[in-house]
């Protein structure tokens, strides 16, 4: 069974801090994704990566960056956290084979004070 692990379930940070969210998958998937999930807005794609050191912007990349130094690990970075980045963050991975589903982690609920 695919396992996508996010480093924290809950995180509280202060405005202006640099925040790191970590995600690890164990299925050798090529693709990895970061979403934020907000009530009424569904899942919005922040960034994704289809290979080591490769990244592409999603729909809402502003204020975020990512890092993928190893195939199994995909990090989301909030360069200078702001209160409007308080949200649930979901990491997902998938095979690059056509029409394969994404597998999600448990999510990190991030609060920026």
């Amino acid at each position: 069974d695919v396992k996508v692990t996010q480093s924290s379930r809950y995180l509280v940070k202060r405005t202006g801090e640099k925040v790191f969210l970590e995600c690890v998958q164990d299925m050798d998937h090529e693709n990895m994704f970061w979403y934020r999930q907000d009530p009424g807005l569904g899942l919005r794609l922040i960034y994704f990566s289809y290979d080591v050191k490769m990244k592409e912007k999603g729909d809402i990349p502003e204020g975020y960056s990512v890092s993928r130094e190893k195939k199994e690990r995909f990090s989301l970075i909030l360069e200078s956290a702001s209160t409007n980045q308080t949200s649930m963050y979901l990491c997902a991975s998938s095979s690059s084979t056509y029409y394969q589903p994404q597998h999600f982690g448990d999510g990190t609920r991030l609060s920026i004070l």
Binding site: F33, L43, L45, S49, M54, Y99, P101, Q102, G105
Partner: protein, 111 residues
């Protein structure tokens, strides 16, 4: 533009009643669609995909290309079906494959 629309934010039904969660899509190619479910305090997980033509937990979904719909149906709702449901469209982009999600529908099954 590719888009997924779930018109209902909340759907409340009684136990034993039929359920239909609506999903409409806009896509220029041949669509491939999924339904995902998120139970309370659990991770988002795949419920079913149209290409499999399967029934999972009593749910089915038929792709209707004429109406550009992929509605999720269950003849008799159970309390344990209460969850957030997302419809998603597979977007093949060559180098990577993305999913376009709808905004979700919260299903509440009353006893």
């Amino acid at each position: 533009a590719q888009r997924v629309t779930q018109p209902e934010k909340l759907l409340s039904v009684f136990k034993g009643a039929p359920v239909e969660l609506k999903c409409n899509y806009s896509y220029s190619g041949s669509p491939e669609l999924f339904w995902y479910v998120q139970y309370s305090r659990q991770r988002l997980q795949l419920l079913l995909r149209h290409i499999s033509r399967e029934s999972i937990k009593g749910f089915t979904a038929d792709l209707n290309k004429g109406e550009t719909s992929f509605h999720l149906k269950k003849p008799f709702a159970q309390e344990e079906d209460s969850a957030m449901y997302y419809c998603a469209l597979f977007n093949y982009g060559g180098a990577t494959n993305k999913l376009i999600f709808g905004t979700g529908t919260l299903l509440a099954v009353q006893p």
